[in-house]
Assembly symmetry: C2
Homo-oligomer: 607 residues x 2
């Protein structure tokens, strides 16, 4: 099987195939496959009705009564009682969030009916630059689903307040847009806060515009990132992105209304920890806005959810459960994103389209029965029936920690006097934003101490890309941790080493164990590693586990964090990893220090 | 002003313009123009509400409350009480039908708010081949509206039963697709009747597929022509055209439903003589199908209507009058066709889009108040305020009649016996289809005679492209003509000379007068020219009249046909011109003879 992402069907092939289909239709001849006796979700007309589907080669011949197209050589699939729809599209996601390579993600995603994935390799790009993107593109080009990569146009997100492994700007764009499977530019986070960026670093706009204009001139797509901006700011963001951008960071009805009115494709996020569909959908259900630019996406999926619930089929199920008509819900994961992406050959069930299909028991339950890609059955009852070989990344991406050990002293904050008034990052569960809290902490031997009683822990970010070796230090509230430390190389978006703990000695131990591991997550207490998960690809993902193994490893680590370190928040590693995200409010931490995101300035931890 | 059709904005220009818009939005600065105090039709959200529109250079800055963007240098246009919408799009039309060149058509069309026109130069192509298409493309590239030409992939429509000036096939496609303003392939009439073509000339499919696959590979669009076909036939037609085709030949609700379900963009025709919107729209109003692939078009406009009623504004007005919500009706002439055409920069009012705007008094009346193209006011109260110079085609396209005079004998049908049983073409008013009627006619001196008493006239098509000189002969019913003859070089689709009359002597006189004129329409009686209209461009259009002059000339000729020749049908010249259209049922006439369109065979006039 030629991987669809890599396939370059030639014009002579297309001519031959189309003539052969016409021979079958008018000969009359017989289809290769007929799915008979079920219903279809016709996302073109917005209807669900009884119809067969006839396939030939990689394509759909037609829908409707296809009995005349059945001959002795036709494979007839009885789908009575079932519903067939176009293969689902995830309009925006990051493989890295599941800590799996694209191959292992695909293994479960495809089996549950997601045949097209728009993936943004933003995390590996922050660590390894274009070289990392190229490796992921290479992997994606060999997979049987359709992957559309969107390359970042800038790393780090906010220059001057954080340090990425490689700085990407317009100069890298022409090369990256030529990598296999790349069809556009990923979320333009560098101008996510237009007023702030314009006030501080207006030249960032020139760079972003250079990239997006280049992309547009080459027929590529641009993803926006327009969290909570309106009016002139929203217009400026849209214009920086080009004429038709998306936004997957819409969290309120008011935002959804404003963005739809301004031509933004609103990708309603329903990932593992961030769920915005129920709110965004109100623009359609309550305000009656046209739904054609509402799409669904996951952004960040935990491996546990992928293994237990599926991928876009679960998102569609939740959308139907929220009261949206089944045909409209399926449109949001098929024709709507396909239209946005300019894809004319997938996302609908019509003559001549690629036969990417998902057969389910019912749209309300979305349990996958059969999945086809390009006319070939790839999954049955939620399990792949094709071989997808394990994929191993080259060594070049597996040694991404470019620093030596850290000492407890480097993680400490000195202070004069018996106590210190400190600025604390307040964790907000299920959000990638944070609060800013004022607190008072004791000082011992001139060093500010954590307070487990008040749930005030140390937090630090240790530069690990070999540039400065700097350490940003501060305090955090909300994890409930009682002993030890947690360190990880997943730390948005520049992915330095983030560490939190009750004491700087265990914190240094955790960081140094992560370094020794070559990247990953380490739980550390009383001088010993409690548990660990190696993430050897850029410190973000692993080749060594499949999705189900990763799901159980992730569950094991979470349980250990809770039972042995006393952590109370769910999903502690993903929550911790977002505390360094420099583009979302309010108080964050980077390798440069505590970051006030409302002003893009580094502020002291102790006042 | 750079003609939009020809403009090739460079990437550095775009970068500069976008940065300048961002400077205005975030500076904050001031817009060039603000349309203040009115309502907008937001085709993105499907709403109509109060909002200003701010423009800068060629673009829309934003909509909403734009008062902060007004400065001393801003031109503020008071549009209170008015409604602004995106400039309208005619999704399918032929300039030739109005007998005007594109320049004169544009003069009225643009003034009434149609800023984008998809034009199919199918008629000039049948006469002059690629050379004619190139001349029209050259003209279109100099006009201020946005013209998208769709080149024919085959002339004649039905090889073997009619003779075109130049035979076009795949070999001409690469060259023609490179002409200025060309964005696709026009209606694929050659496979409009798939079963018939497949049975008689299956190789036509290979040729059409070669052209459409080439077009697709080069990012071009393909128009279908799927009149009254269903099931396997419709699927075969769609596949021959590629994956996403249009059809402007849909005349029943059932057809509209079937086509929408199969992914066809249904271009509801509301031209001068063929009106299908009221029927097609029932797929939406009665069956509840998604309206996003329903578009509006005119196909063929008479100059009289263009002058008296306007262009797409009149079509939208009629659609609203038919009970369609105003925002939905406007979508059908803006975002829907723009989406089909893959145009991301027109068809909506959003930041960064080209400022093509139509301000009207109300969506119910659609009287044009102001029209903008690319941020420049081009019309006010239905009159252009920019200069569009008259355009003269080169001499090379003005001498397209390649034959000498015809004799009365060549137009006669010999027969033995006192009477003859004849096959008669039955005119059906307001349709391009015809009936087949059996009749009995007297024979004098071995020649079959017409019968004005029974409204049975002679009809003939005289080959005029210099290939065969042949004459096809027959009889016609339905015009009510009492004396003389009418001849014209407008004669779909190959545009030989079609002539009808009460007597072959006057018919020969009419044909020879048309030849002497170098193409056009001639009314002839009792040995003299009664009236005539020169159409010197390919025998189809003229440079010499503007639309209003053409409207009165056309009205004058029609009046003369009625008062002096006794014609009773309205629009006699357009009706006559369609009696040679070989792709629409039932009995037609070409230069090869009477054509039975249901079997694509030439049949004798006398049995």
């Amino acid at each position: 099987m030629i991987p669809p992402s890599a396939s370059r069907t030639t014009e002579p092939d297309i001519r031959r195939e189309r003539r052969a289909m016409i021979d079958t239709l008018l000969g009359p001849g017989h289809a290769d496959i007929v799915l008979q006796g079920g219903e279809i979700v016709n996302v073109l007309s917005g209807e669900i009705y009884a119809a067969d589907i006839a396939l030939q080669g990689e394509y759909i011949l037609r829908t409707g009564d296809c009995s005349e197209l059945i001959g002795p050589e036709t494979t007839v699939i009885d789908v009575s009682g079932k519903v067939t729809m176009p293969g689902l599209i995830d309009a925006h996601m990051h493989f890295e969030s599941a800590m799996l390579n694209a191959t292992e993600f695909t293994r479960l995603s495809l089996a549950s009916g997601t045949t097209t994935v728009v993936a943004d390799p933003h995390e590996i790009a922050n660590v390894l630059g274009p070289a990392g993107v190229r490796e992921m593109a290479e992997e994606c080009s060999q997979l049987p689903n359709r992957i559309h990569l969107r390359v970042p146009c800038r790393t780090p997100d906010v220059p001057g307040v954080e340090t990425a492994g490689v700085d990407i700007d317009f100069n890298s764009i022409p090369e990256m847009l030529d990598y296999p499977t790349v069809d556009g530019i990923g979320e333009i986070q560098g101008v996510a806060a237009p007023k702030l960026v314009y006030a501080h670093t207006p030249e960032v706009f020139d760079d972003v515009i250079a990239s997006t204009a280049y992309a547009e001139a080459h027929g590529k797509i641009v993803d926006g990132n327009a969290a909570a901006i309106f009016d002139n700011e929203l217009a400026a963001h849209i214009i920086a992105g080009g004429t038709e951008i998306s936004c997957h960071e819409t969290t309120t009805k008011e935002e959804a209304v404003e963005k739809l009115r301004n031509g933004v494709f609103v990708l309603m996020r329903e990932g593992s920890t961030q769920r915005n569909m129920a709110e965004c959908i109100r623009a359609y259900t309550e305000e009656g806005l046209d739904s054609r630019r509402l799409c669904l996406c996951t952004d960040d999926m935990l491996p546990d959810d992928l293994a237990a619930k599926g991928h876009m089929n679960d998102v569609v199920r939740r959308t139907v459960a929220a009261g949206i008509g089944p045909a409209v819900a399926v449109q949001m994961a098929t024709i709507n994103p396909a239209t946005w992406m300019g894809l004319r050959n997938v996302g609908t069930l019509a003559p001549g389209k690629l036969a990417d299909l998902l057969v389910v028991d019912a749209v309300e339950t979305m349990n996958p029965a059969i999945v086809y890609v390009a006319g070939r059955q790839v999954a049955l009852d939620g399990e792949l029936v094709i071989e997808i070989p394990r994929y191993e990344y080259p060594d070049s991406v597996k040694h991404s920690i470019m620093r030596g050990p850290v000492s407890p002293e480097e993680l400490s904050i000195a202070h004069d006097g018996p106590t210190a008034a400190v600025r604390v990052i307040g964790l907000i569960p299920d959000q990638n934003l944070s609060a800013e809290i004022d607190a008072e902490l004791p000082v011992v031997d001139g060093i500010i101490q954590a307070s487990t009683a008040e749930d005030l822990l140390h937090i630090a970010v240790v530069e690990r890309h070999g540039h400065t070796g700097e350490v940003g230090r501060g305090f955090v509230h909300g994890f409930g941790m009682q002993r030890g430390a947690i360190a990880e190389t997943v730390s948005h978006d520049t992915h330095n080493i983030i560490v939190m703990g009750t004491h700087v000695v265990d914190m240094a131990g955790a960081v140094n164990a992560v370094i020794a591991l070559g990247g990953g997550i380490v739980l550390f207490a009383d001088g010993e590693v409690v548990d660990q998960l190696p993430l050897e690809i850029a410190g973000l993902m692993t080749d060594m586990l499949d999705a189900r193994e990763m799901a159980s490893a992730s569950a094991r680590l979470t349980a250990a964090a809770q039972s042995q370190l006393g952590v109370t928040v769910h999903g502690p590693f993903m929550h911790l990893a977002f505390l360094s995200l420099a583009t979302s409010p309010t108080l964050k931490i980077t390798d440069r220090g505590l970051l006030d995101v409302t002003s893009y300035t580094i502020v002291p931890a102790a006042m």
